[in-house]
Amino acid sequence: MCNICTPTIKGDTDNMAKIMIVDDAAFMRMVIKDILKKNGHEVVAECVDGLDAVQKYPQFKPELVFMDIVMPNMEGIDALKKIMQMDPSARIVMCSSIGQQSVVTDALKSGALDFIVKPFDAAKVLEVIGKVI
């Protein structure tokens, strides 16, 4: 069974968050976006790489950023560091795959609030949002 076919988790609509998604794969963006939208969150921006994220962050001022790690142009970890420099209160959650312990650890040390591991399901994503916001 596929991990993304999780039904809508009963969400707290009061806790609607403005979220920015950073992932070079349109597919992954769509998966996360669908989970978020179904549960009452607003996706304010989608970025195709770290560079894009660094540029869009000040414009959209999202409450939460989902940041992929391996991306062209600028990797997630560098984008994280740049955004944290711009806005030390930025809330960034890393989206990692298996096998990236060290990068995730590095990201957490650099200010990422949490991480989710691909393949992620709706419950995990929402749990993380609930915890960091």
Binding site: N3, I4, D24, A26, V70, S97, Q100, K131
Partner: protein
């Protein structure tokens, strides 16, 4: 779900293309780090996507590839020919896997995994068994999460503190802190344990000073622990706020806090504040980037574009009807709005056509790999030079030209380019040249495939034609050199002396020509024996709408594609001559065969014996023929509706049908099959 699948497939194909291109690059340039990085990234992205979709086989294979590329990146593995071959094999398998995601077909990848692991020389990173990635998180849990296992000390109750640690505890105590022992148990579904534990440590360090971790921080980072670990923390916070802080982290199963020392006085600032201050200092130094990229393209399903094209077709048909009605009714008041409608529909049509255009690179990009494999297989050296890959074509045309181009390129390598030894003997460079270029000429695109190989000898071709019984010696000798070259397009003609498994099955060029002509294009061949051949394809930009000459035959309206029409002439029946039982007419000194369409199309009713006949001269591949028609109606744009249902598919003579302004249907004549 299928929505996900579509985008998954489309994006996977893109990544496979990147992988292919980079691998080709890497083969030429084994030290180029950019290729290695791109491959690593693409494999990685594919892994994440496929695992999310639950396609475990793809996830497993890409995981191994990613590992391998990582090792290449770190110079732990060197790029060798065999490595490249294995990776190419992986890409082929991945392609097949992505292709077959709908069918759930099982593909065995164990031999590939074995090769990959072998390539990594047994240095594959421990601790990660790929088979578990996509099978869900539950399987990631090591056996026996409850209760610690031998090697790693888990229970903090027996911690022996070093002198420095004891000192820290004392200082903390003096500063008014309490020292607590915090036992954290991770959730069994936790995948990146080390990162999770790091997050716990980071959060705790904001609340005080970490004196000691069991296991050590280094061991935690290396995942050398089961599901639980203990932290000794000097803090001013009370137990509930510490528990709360840890509970805010996901994937935490339990937190247990017990005091080591207690203290009641107050003390100084926490680490959190310090770190925030540091960050703010940095922030002030950073200049914000102001340019923002906006979304420049959206992905649209091909079906939607096809539907849109169809709707535009219907719209144009209705417009034509409306125009006709207005002129029938002589309604002058409609003129202005009809003219506007005309302009708008034309604009829509152009926009829709433009949106269906895709760069020809989508077809070209798979050829470098094919040529490489082919050359390697035949022991030849080939340089493929591609030009004009940015040229755009309607995707219907693009979809169709892939196979013909494969044939032409295979022929160029297989029959054209000589072996390295032969080439050196002939004084040619060792590596053969194969050129593939696209260019735009008004409303058509020219694609040329050329090589600097042995070329084709008209004398030799004539010989083959005679030997194969296509014509007798006398006929063959009459052929001009150009006509002799065109023999290669005749069905059943194969120029290869020996039939290889790659080309030369005698169907190739014939099939190429049929396909291109079905698209409304033309094929031209030229060759110089000893120095190479060139085959030029001329293709229309789009096939959905064509300019036609409308004619009537036995009371029915037909459309003749204007591209084929040379001119129309009026002739007298008495001028018709008969050669070998066929009607011909002498026109400007040339013999023009005549075709009475009412006979060919078996129109009902007795053909009138008229003295004055109208002939439409059409040309196809240098062959001209005159169609005898009853009446010329004029020139018109028609929308092609293909006859692709089962009943009509094999009808010869018609390229399709179209709906006319008055709502009636007219058949479009297919010149290629009529000549």
């Amino acid at each position: 779900m299928s929505e996900y699948k579509d985008i998954f497939k489309a994006e996977s194909e893109e990544h496979l293309q990147h992988l292919n291109e980079s691998l080709l690059g890497l083969e030429q340039n084994p030290r180029e780090i950019e290729y290695i990085n791109t491959m690593f990234r693409s494999a990685h992205t594919l892994k994440g996507m496929s695992a999310t979709m639950g396609f475990s086989t793809i996830a497993e294979l890409t995981h191994e590839m990613e590992n391998l590329m990582d090792m290449v990146r770190k110079c732990q593995v060197t790029v060798s020919d065999s490595l490249i071959d294995i990776l190419f094999e992986c890409l082929d398998t991945l392609e097949a896997l992505v292709e077959s995601v709908d069918s759930n077909k099982e593909v065995n990848i164990s031999h590939l995994q074995a090769s990959l692991i072998q390539a990594m020389e047994g240095t594959i990173c421990a601790g990660e068994t790929i088979s578990t990635i996509a099978n869900g998180l539950a399987e990631m849990v090591p056996a026996g999460t409850e209760g610690s296992s031998g090697a790693v000390p888990e229970a903090a109750t027996h911690i022996r503190f070093s002198d420095t640690e004891n000192e820290s505890i004392e200082t903390a105590h003096e500063d008014g802190n309490r020292v607590v022992e915090i036992k954290v148990v991770l959730d069994p579904s936790c995948v990146l344990k080390s990162a999770r534990s790091t997050l716990v440590l980071i959060n705790l360090s904001k609340m005080g000073k970490i004196i000691r971790c069991v296991p050590s921080e280094a061991d935690l980072e290396d995942e050398k622990f089961n599901m639980e670990f203990t932290v000794i923390l000097a803090t001013k916070e009370d137990d509930p706020s510490i528990t709360g802080a840890i509970r805010r982290i996901s994937e935490i199963k339990a937190v247990d806090i017990s005091p080591l020392y207690t203290c009641e006085t107050d003390g100084s600032e926490t680490r959190e504040k310090e770190s925030v201050e540091e960050r703010q200092q940095c922030a002030s130094a950073v200049k914000r980037s102001e340019s923002v990229k906006s979304i420049q393209s959206v992905r649209v399903n091909i079906e939607r574009l096809d539907n849109l094209m169809n709707l535009v077709g219907e719209l144009i048909i209705n417009k034509i009807r409306l125009n006709q009605l207005a002129s029938d009714l002589n309604a002058k008041s409609l003129d202005e709005s009809l003219a506007n409608l005309d302009r708008l529909t034309n604009e829509i049509q152009n926009e829709v056509m433009e949106s269906r255009m895709v760069p020809i690179d989508q077809v070209f990009s798979r050829f470098p790999r094919m040529i490489r494999d082919l050359a390697k297989h035949e022991g030849k050296q080939v340089n493929l030079v591609i030009e004009g890959k940015e040229i755009e074509l309607d995707r219907t045309v693009l979809d169709e030209i892939g196979d013909p181009l494969v044939h032409l390129l295979r022929n160029a390598v297989d029959h054209g380019i000589e072996t390295v030894e032969e080439r050196i003997k002939l004084g040619k460079p060792a590596a053969g040249f194969v050129g593939l270029s696209a260019s735009r000429q008004r409303n058509s695109v020219i694609i040329e495939v050329e090589d600097d190989g042995k070329g084709m000898d008209p004398v030799h071709l004539r010989g083959i034609a005679v030997k194969k019984g296509i014509m007798n010696r006398e006929e063959a000798d009459k052929l001009s050199d150009t006509d002799a070259l065109n023999l290669i397009f005749v069905a059943g003609f194969s120029g290869a002396k020996t039939i290889t498994d790659i080309s030369g099955r005698g169907v190739g060029m014939d099939a190429v020509k049929t396909k291109i002509e079905a698209l409304g294009g033309t094929v031209k061949v030229s060759s110089v024996p000893g120095s190479g051949s060139s085959i030029k394809l001329q293709l229309p930009l789009t096939v959905a709408i064509i300019q036609s000459l409308m004619v009537t035959i036995a009371g029915e309206t037909y459309a003749i594609p204007l591209a084929n029409v040379v001119r129309d002439v009026g002739i007298k029946a008495r001028d018709i001559k008969t050669i070998e039982g066929k009607e011909v007419i002498l026109l400007r000194g040339e013999v023009l065969p005549l075709l009475r369409l009412c006979d060919v199309l078996q129109c009902p009713g007795e053909a009138e014996k008229k003295e004055n006949l109208i002939v439409v001269v059409v040309e196809r591949m240098g062959n001209s023929i005159g169609f005898v028609v009853d009446q010329l109606l004029g020139q018109q744009e028609v929308i092609i509706k293909t006859l692709d249902n089962k009943l009509l598919k094999n009808t010869r003579g018609f390229a399709g049908a179209t709906i006319l302004g008055d709502g009636s249907v007219a058949l479009i004549l297919d010149i290629a099959t009529l000549i």
